[in-house]
Symmetry: C2
C-alpha cells in the first residue's frame, strides 16, 4: 500500500500548471464513460479536479480507470492539460484544466455507500447518524465544520488580542445539583464517591477571578443530563468568559467586539454596534419573550389602562389578580375565516391559554363575539391604543402576567410565520435583554430558584428587598439574543461572602447545604475577591445560526440522538461486570 | 459596592503619565508605614504600582489607607507623580512613578491568607491545593498559566495557518477497554448502560480522515482511570493531530514546524531542524531507553561480541538465552569507594538487576572482584570497546535484553546526575524515536498487546510476519522526546479493514469482540479510507518542561492529588441516593 503522495490538492490546479507532471490523491466523486474515454471527478476537501483516462493516451491506465467506482481512493499521476474547446467548466475553480492520467494507484476500494455522498440531505437522519463518517464526507457537513473551525479561530484570536488568558478547568468536579441534573462518574479509588461532569465552569472561573487572572476565556464542553429536546445535546460547547473589575458595560463592549469580528470573518457582514438593549420586563410586554426576534416588528400592547374599569368578567378578574390584558394587531388580517381563527385559538389553548379573543376591525368598529361585553369607550380605546385600521384583525389574551405574555409572544411568532414577516435577506437582529428577575418561584417545590444561577448579583439598590420581597428583586443579568435565539447569557456576580449567604438564604438553601456544596467558593470570597462578571455563549447554537441550519446536530461532528445515544458506535453500551466491580457499583 | 473602574492596570504607568488623574484597581501586595507616610504596592495581573498615602496631601485618605491590609481589594483614585529623588525602583517597570492617593474605595476585605501569596513555593503542597485560588495568585502560578495560555495560542495558530480543521469529538463515548481503564458515566435514559470518557479521540479522528477532513487538530481533555504516579492526572490535555495521504515524513516535518514555532514564541529559542532520529532498537542499546535524554552523551555499549566465547557463567547464560551484556563507562570515577559502589549496586538491584559488575581501570588493567573470571583478551576487549582509560570506572549488566538495557539506562541517568552532566544552560535535546515494536508480550495474560495502540500500522514489508512471528514485527510508530521525556507519540494507521482484522487476530481479540468494540471503525474502512496517520502531544508535560517545573501540577490550574481527589472542593464526594436511583445504580 505504498503510494505517491500528492503534489497538489484537488482544488489547486489552474492554467499556469498546464504541462506539469503532478500527483493527486482523493476520492472518485463521479465517473463518466464517454465514447471510450473515462472522466473522473477526483474529490478531496479542497475541491474537485477532472482526470481523464484515454485509451489512446495510455491504454494500460485506461483499463485500470475502468475498474474505479464511486468513493474509491486513488493516487493519480498525470499531466495537466488545458481542457479542449468548449469543455471548460466555469463553475469549478479547476475547471479550465484536467489531468491526463499516466498512472493510477488504487489506495482503497469502497463498498457502495448507503446513500449518495452529495445528497445526504434527503436521507433519514438516523441513517445519516449511523454512517456519520460518510455523511460528514458530503459538501454540506464539510462546509459547516469548516465554518465552525474558522469560528473557533476568530473567537480565540479575539480574546488573545484582548489579553484574555485561556485556562482549562476540570472535567471531573464535585456534584452540586442546583439547576440541571449532573452526569456522574463513579470513583474507583474512593469507594461510593462520585465526580460530576461540569454543567459549566462557573465556580472555577469565579475562583480564577479571585486568583487575579482578571480576564479568562475558554471554549469548553459542558454536560447536562436533561431530557433532550430537538435542539439540545447531553454535551455541548460553551464560549466561557469572565472578567474582573468590570460592570455590565465592560462585558457588553467586549462581547460586541467579538460579534463584530465573528460576523465579519464568518459571514463577511459588517455588524453595527452598539447592539440594541431591552429591559426584560419591557421585552416581555412588547414581544412576549425574553428572547424576542426583532427581525420584524409586530409588537404587543398592554391594554390594562383601556380596561381599568372593565365590566367584562375575564378582564376584571385578570386585573384584580394583578394580571395583564395584552393585545396584538394583525394588520390586514380582517378577512381571516372562522376556521383560521379556530386554528389560532387552538394553538394558544394548547399553550395553556383559557381562550383567544379576536376582533375584526370594520369601518364601523369592532366585530367580535365578545364585543357586546365592552363599552364603546373601551372599543375605541383598543383601536386607538393598537392603532388599528379597518381590515385589520386583533387578538387579546388576558390572565396571569408571565403566562399571558408568553402565549401572546408565541402567537406573535406564529403570525409572523403566517404573514411571512421574516425575509430571507433580513439583517441579523441582535439584542441585549437586561435586568432579569433574580429569582423565580417554583410552585411544586414551594421555593425560589435562581433565574440565572445562584452567583448572580442582585441590583445593588434592590438588595434590601431580598429579605422582604425577593420575587421583586432584579438581577445584574443579561442575555444576548440573535434572531429570537438566546446565544449567550451572563451576569455580574456576587463577590461578597455576606451577600452570597443572603442569596442562599433567599433560595432556601441551608447554611449546611451551602457550605457542603459551595463552601470553597464562599471561603475564597473571604480572601479578597474582586468585583467580577462574565458571560457564556452556546457555541453550537451560534454555529447553527451562522450556518443557517435548524438543528445543532448539523454543526456537530458526532452528535447524539434525542435519546442521548450514538447510532454509530452504539453508546451508551453494556460494560463488563469487572469494570463495575472495580467502581463499587452495581445495576439496580 | 459601586466602584470606580480602572483607567490603567497596575503595570502600565510610566513617566509620560506624570500629572494625570488615574484610577487603579487591585490587591494590596505590601504596606509600609514610613514616618507617617503609607506606601502600598498595589498589585494586579499586569504588575505592581506604588501608591502613597500622605497625611499632608490628604489626611482623610491617609486615615483610610492606614486600615488597609494585605490582599484587600481596592480602587484608588490618585495623581501620578515622579518618584522623589533616589526612591525610583529600576526593577519595576512602573518604578519611576508613584500615585498620590486622592480617594480610596474598599472593594473587599481579606482575611489573612494561610500562606504569604508570593512565597507559596515553600508551602506544603496539600495546603496549596486546598487554597488553590490563593496559590494561583502568586507570581509563579500566574507566570506558568500565562505561558500555558500563550502555548495554546501558538499551537492553534500554527495548525490554522497550515489549513488544519479544529473539530470537537465527543466526551461521552463507548467504553472499549483495550489499554488503560475507562472512566464510566452511567446513563439515566438507558438503564444499565454506560458511556465512557475518552482515553483519546483516536477512533474519532480516524473516522474524520475517512470523512475526508484531511488535516485535523484539537486540544482536548482525555481521561484514564489509572493509579496515579507523581506525573499523572486522571484528566490530561492532549494536542491531537491527524492527517490523510501522508507518511511518517509528512508528520515529522509538520510537527517540527510546530516545535520551531513553540520554542520561538514561548522560549525565544531558535530550534534547529531537522530533529535527530533514532531507531527504537538503537536507542535501547545506546541509551537503555525509548526516550533517551540526549543533553549528555554517556552512551552504553553492547559487549556481546567481546564475550562471545565467555567462560563466565553469568555472561554465558545471558548469551545462550539470546540476552545482552551491556557496558557503561564512567570516566574518571575510578576512585569511587566501595560504599559508593554498593549504593549503585543496590540501586540497580531495586530495579530488578541480578547484580552490578563494576571494574576500576588501572594502569595495569582492570581491577574488580569478577576480573578473575575473564580472560586477558576479554578484559582488553572491554577496555578497547568502551574506550576506557586509567582512572575510569566501568559497569556491566547482563541478562534478558529489554530488562538489562532498561536498568543500565536508569544507571546512565543516575550517573549523569552524580556527575552533573546536565548543565543548566544545556540546549533542549529533541529526538524522534522510530520503528517501535508493534506488539509486546504480556506474561500474565499470555497475549500480545499493542505497544502503541491496535490501529498502528506494521511496517509494510513485515506484514507477513504477523502470522508467523508477531513479536518481531515493527511498527510505523514514532515518539518525540524532549530532554528524556516523551512529549508526543503517534503512528501511521492501518487503513484497510483486512489488515485491521489481521491485527486484531494477532492481539487475540476475537472477531465478535472486535466487532462489538470497533465494528463501526472497521465498517468505515470499507467505504474508502485514505492512508492516514497522526500524533498526539501530552500538553501538560510539554508545558511543564517549558516552565522548567518538575510536576505537571505546576502548570494545571486545578489539579487532583495523586489519589485523584480535589482538596479544594473535596471531590469526588457523596451524592444523593435520589441521583443514584435515577441512574439505576447502587453502591456495593
Amino acid at each position: 500500500m505504498k503510494f505517491n503522495r500528492r503534489t497538489h490538492t484537488c482544488g489547486e490546479l489552474r492554467e499556469e500548471n498546464i504541462g506539469e507532471k503532478i500527483v493527486l490523491n482523493g476520492w472518485v466523486d463521479t465517473r463518466r464513460d464517454l465514447g471510450g474515454v473515462i472522466f473522473i471527478d477526483l474529490r478531496d476537501r479542497y475541491g474537485i479536479t477532472q482526470v481523464v483516462f484515454e485509451p489512446n493516451y495510455n491504454s494500460e491506465t485506461h483499463k485500470e480507470g475502468s475498474k474505479l467506482r464511486s468513493e474509491y481512493v486513488v493516487a493519480i499521476e498525470g499531466t495537466v492539460r488545458k481542457r479542449p474547446g468548449d469543455t471548460t467548466n466555469a463553475n469549478l475553480p479547476t475547471g479550465m484544466v484536467d489531468v491526463m492520467v499516466d498512472k493510477v494507484i488504487l489506495l482503497n476500494e469502497a463498498k457502495t455507500p448507503p446513500f449518495p455522498i452529495q445528497k445526504s440531505g434527503d436521507v433519514n437522519e438516523d441513517i445519516r447518524l449511523e454512517y456519520r463518517y460518510l455523511d460528514l464526507r458530503g459538501e454540506k457537513m464539510q462546509k459547516n465544520l469548516l465554518m465552525r473551525s474558522k469560528m473557533y479561530n476568530s473567537v480565540r484570536n479575539y480574546f488573545n488580542d484582548n489579553e484574555f488568558l485561556e485556562i482549562e478547568t476540570p472535567y471531573l468536579m464535585k456534584s452540586t445539583p442546583e439547576g440541571a441534573r449532573d452526569f456522574l462518574v463513579p470513583s474507583r479509588i474512593h469507594r461510593g464517591k462520585f465526580y460530576a461532569l461540569p454543567q459549566s465552569p462557573q465556580t472555577y472561573k469565579q475562583l480564577l477571578m479571585v486568583s487575579g487572572f482578571d480576564k479568562y476565556f475558554q471554549i469548553v464542553k459542558c454536560f447536562r443530563d436533561e431530557d433532550l429536546r430537538a435542539d439540545r445535546q447531553p454535551e455541548f460547547t460553551q464560549i466561557d468568559i469572565e472578567m474582573s473589575f468590570v460592570d455590565q458595560e465592560d462585558i457588553f463592549s467586549m462581547v460586541e467586539g467579538l460579534m463584530v469580528k465573528l460576523f465579519k470573518e464568518t459571514k463577511n457582514y459588517e455588524l453595527e454596534t452598539p447592539i440594541k438593549r431591552l429591559d426584560f420586563h419591557e421585552a416581555m410586554e412588547r414581544y412576549g419573550s425574553d428572547k424576542p426576534d426583532l427581525r420584524f416588528d409586530l409588537e404587543m400592547t398592554t391594554l390594562n389602562e383601556v380596561f381599568k374599569d372593565a365590566e367584562f368578567k375575564v378582564f376584571k378578574d385578570a386585573l384584580a389578580n394583578n394580571g395583564i390584558i395584552t393585545g396584538l394587531l394583525a394588520e390586514g388580517c380582517g378577512d381571516y375565516t372562522r376556521n383560521q381563527l379556530d386554528v389560532l385559538t387552538n394553538y394558544v389553548k394548547q399553550l395553556g391559554a383559557g381562550g383567544l379573543i379576536w376582533m375584526r376591525v370594520k369601518e364601523d368598529g369592532l366585530e367580535a363575539p365578545v364585543a357586546k361585553f365592552m363599552s364603546d369607550e373601551e372599543k375605541q380605546g383598543i383601536i386607538d391604543t393598537l392603532g388599528a385600521k379597518p381590515g385589520d384583525l386583533l387578538f387579546i389574551i388576558s390572565g396571569s402576567k408571565t403566562q399571558s405574555l408568553s402565549i401572546m409572544g408565541s402567537l406573535r411568532l406564529e403570525m409572523a410565520k403566517r404573514l411571512d414577516l421574516i425575509k430571507p435577506d433580513a439583517k441579523p437582529a441582535l439584542l441585549w435583554v437586561t435586568n432579569f428577575p433574580l429569582l423565580e418561584w417554583d410552585e411544586d417545590t414551594k421555593r425560589f430558584y435562581a433565574m440565572h444561577h445562584p452567583f448572580t448579583s442582585p441590583n445593588l439598590n434592590e438588595v434590601d428587598k431580598l429579605d422582604t420581597n425577593p420575587g421583586d428583586v432584579n438581577a445584574r443579568a443579561y442575555d444576548l439574543v440573535l434572531n429570537g435565539n438566546e446565544i449567550a447569557g451572563g451576569s455580574i456576580r456576587i463577590h461578597s461572602a455576606d451577600l452570597q449567604s443572603k442569596m442562599f438564604d433567599a433560595l432556601g438553601i441551608s447554611k449546611e447545604e451551602a457550605d457542603t456544596k459551595f463552601g470553597f467558593l464562599m471561603n475564597a470570597f473571604k480572601y479578597g475577591a474582586p468585583p467580577h462578571g462574565g458571560i457564556a455563549f452556546g457555541f453550537d447554537r451560534l454555529a447553527m445560526l451562522f450556518a443557517n441550519e435548524n438543528s445543532i446536530r448539523e454543526v456537530i461532528a458526532f452528535p447524539k440522538t434525542s435519546s442521548a445515544a450514538s447510532l454509530m458506535d452504539h453508546s451508551p453500551s453494556d460494560v463488563d461486570e469487572a469494570q463495575l466491580k472495580e467502581l463499587f457499583i452495581k445495576i439496580r
